[in-house]
């Protein structure tokens, strides 16, 4: 089935404009969805993302953040990305400060509740350098669910009345044709690319997620391209042994990178907890000076290392191993 057509120019998504169904399906039909191996290196990832793309980021806050993928896009000098995430943590700081992204669609944005408001986010948003577009957490999830289902909207019963809604003309209030009730219709979100980190997948992209899934299943279905990073690539036989645990089917996936500790310094359920000492070092640095501190951090930890392994080495093997010990302890019960 040759589906790739050189004459078909896929245009980046008009952010927050619902993709007409004809475009949604034509874009998908162009993708090579056949059973094939898709393993690439971390350096290859950049070739799957174009400047200006709408990039959906998996995980939530400090959990299962596809940090290595973000790191590689920043290193490749990507520009003008719009990023979406249910809850944004220090990944958003890096995206703003590196200039890769000028617009984040999310429900919450700071490095983490322990460290108060992100000075990096504040600097970029208050100065008008970048946009923080706010939706409620449910609205973010339902926008992706609509996108995953191939429908243009989902009805919800939140955001109504609030000033959050007043800032979001993209959503539409509706009188229910069945009950006469007031509902909010949130528009489908179909990212150009999704970045998702999983515990394991096979070389085709059948991906298994343990523990908290967040909105990653809907994100994978909604996106027009999926890049997976994974702690481990396993055999297809191993996937088939526990099909209950497969959460993302291979035909949604376009590229796979094996990156152990690919969420560092954030956590990966059952594998490692967040590397809190590094996070504290980071927050100390950037909250003191969100411009110079951030520049230092990027130089040292993002642009500096030759490889992800070298980045982990900078965090420190001791901290990485301690995080892994805690990560695995969730199964101790």
């Amino acid at each position: 089935m040759p589906r790739l057509d050189a004459t078909h120019r896929h245009e980046p998504t008009q952010v927050n404009q619902v993709k007409p169904y004809e475009k949604l399906r034509r874009d998908l039909a162009q993708r090579d969805r056949s059973l094939r191996e898709k393993v690439v290196t971390l350096d290859d990832v950049a070739s799957f993302v174009r400047d200006g793309d709408l990039v959906g980021i998996g995980g939530s806050t400090m959990s299962r953040t596809p940090m290595a993928l973000i790191w590689s896009l920043i290193r490749a000098g990507k520009k003008k990305l719009t990023c979406s995430r249910s809850i944004t943590s220090s990944d958003g700081d890096l995206l703003f400060a590196s200039g890769a992204c000028e617009h984040i669609i999310t429900s919450w944005f700071s490095q983490g509740i322990l460290w108060g408001v992100s000075k990096v986010m504040r600097h970029h948003v208050e100065s008008g350098k970048a946009r923080f577009e706010e939706w409620s957490h449910l609205a973010m999830g339902m926008r992706l669910r609509a996108g995953a289902m191939g429908v243009p909207f989902m009805p919800i019963r939140t955001m109504l009345g609030s000033d959050v809604l007043k800032q979001r003309p993209e959503a539409k209030e509706m009188e229910c044709p069945f009950t006469g009730e007031r509902l909010l219709l949130v528009p489908a979100l179909n990212p150009d690319v999704a970045l998702i980190h999983v515990q394991r997948c096979d070389a085709y992209g059948n991906a298994q997620i343990d523990g908290l899934q967040f909105v990653d299943i809907d994100l994978a279905m909604a996106a027009n391209k999926v890049i997976l990073s994974t702690e481990r690539i396993v055999s297809n036989d191993q996937i088939r042994r526990v099909p209950d645990q497969t959460k993302i089917p291979f035909f949604t996936v376009d590229a796979i990178v094996e990156v152990p500790f690919g969420c560092a310094p954030h956590e990966c359920y059952g594998v490692y907890e967040p590397m809190i000492r590094h996070m504290e070092y980071y927050v100390g640095l950037v909250n003191k000076d969100p411009i110079a501190g951030m520049r230092d951090y990027l130089d040292r930890f993002v642009y500096g290392p030759k490889s992800w392994a070298e980045f982990l080495d900078l965090i420190g093997i001791e901290e990485v191993l301690a995080a892994a010990r805690l990560g695995n302890s969730i199964y101790d019960a």
Binding site: S60, T61, M62, S63, S86, I87, T106, S107, W108, F109, S110, G112, I113, L114, V117, M121, R122, V125, E126, F132, E134, S136, H137, L138, A139, M140, G141, M142, L144, R145, I156, R157, T158, M159, L160, G161, S162, D163, V164, Q167, E173, E181, R182, L183, L184, G211, L212, Q213, F214, V215, D218, E267, Y269, G270, E273, P274, I276, G327, I330, A333
Partner: protein
């Protein structure tokens, strides 16, 4: 206060809010004091309290000394009954399965509206705050308890921006906005416990904390409070409450 108590403001907050919960309830708890207070209640008078977290956790039983840094971390799933998608756990609120939403607050107003988005004009904000998270959803759908520090800048007549709706502009304006269920039920601070007038839906003090005067409460509030004549007193934390609380947070991450 007239004497220095042997507990911190955060400890007082956690204990007073834990007492608001009843056994058998299903509670949707935010990070920080709510998470801690709900966990404390489980260890005290509510062994059958079911805690939900935004990350997608049902029936959590957080381990002592392993308080999660957010409600999206694996620590939230310790001894959980169920994990599910984060949108799906919020949909439990929409379906009506949750008795109490339990959050912290950055800024609150006379009608219990919460602002965690902007200080100043939303289009040119003096401060961009972290945003709603699930706050708007929880506050739109559930009966709410809010635990927060009592400061004049946090207790304002009208919030700059309604992130998470309380009673909106009072009376039945919440229902008219398309929110027929839920609403602000209690606000617990280090100075007092508040309820809301059932007609006007304006905030009102229900009970003062040990050693706190009406004047202190009024002085730390950015608008005029109406004190009923029968405003009561909260019971101070007991030794048992304090010791269990400190066992849960030995690193004093949340209790200061």
């Amino acid at each position: 206060m007239t004497h220095k108590p042997d507990y911190t403001a955060a400890e007082l907050l956690a204990i007073l809010s834990a007492r608001q919960l009843k056994d058998g309830m299903v509670v949707f708890a935010g990070v920080g004091i709510p998470l801690l207070a709900a966990t404390l209640a489980q260890r005290l008078h509510c062994p059958g309290l079911t805690i939900l977290f935004e990350g997608g956790v049902v029936g959590a039983f957080v381990e002592p000394g392993k308080l999660p840094p957010s409600t999206n971390d694996q620590r939230c799933t310790a001894r959980a009954n169920m994990v599910l998608g984060s949108a799906d756990v919020l949909l439990l609120l929409q379906r009506g399965y949750v008795d109490i939403g339990f959050m912290g607050g950055a800024q609150i107003d006379q009608y219990g509206n919460l602002n965690s988005s902007f200080i100043g004009d939303a289009n040119h904000p003096a401060v961009r705050l972290p945003g709603t998270g699930g706050g708007n959803d929880i506050a739109s759908l559930a009966n709410m308890i809010v635990a927060m520090k009592h400061e004049k800048r946090r207790f304002v007549e009208n919030v700059d921006f309604i992130t998470s709706p309380g009673w909106m502009h009072g009376k039945d304006t919440r229902r008219q906005s398309g929110l027929p269920f839920g609403g602000m039920f209690r606000v617990v601070t280090d100075l007092a416990v508040f309820g809301f007038d059932e007609n006007t839906h304006r905030i009102k003090p229900l009970a003062l904390n040990l050693g706190v005067t009406r004047e202190q409460v009024q002085d730390n509030t950015g608008f005029k409070l109406d004190f009923d004549s029968d405003v009561g007193l909260t019971e101070p934390p007991t030794d048992r409450e304090l010791s269990v609380l400190r066992m849960l947070d030995p690193l004093r991450l949340y209790i200061g």
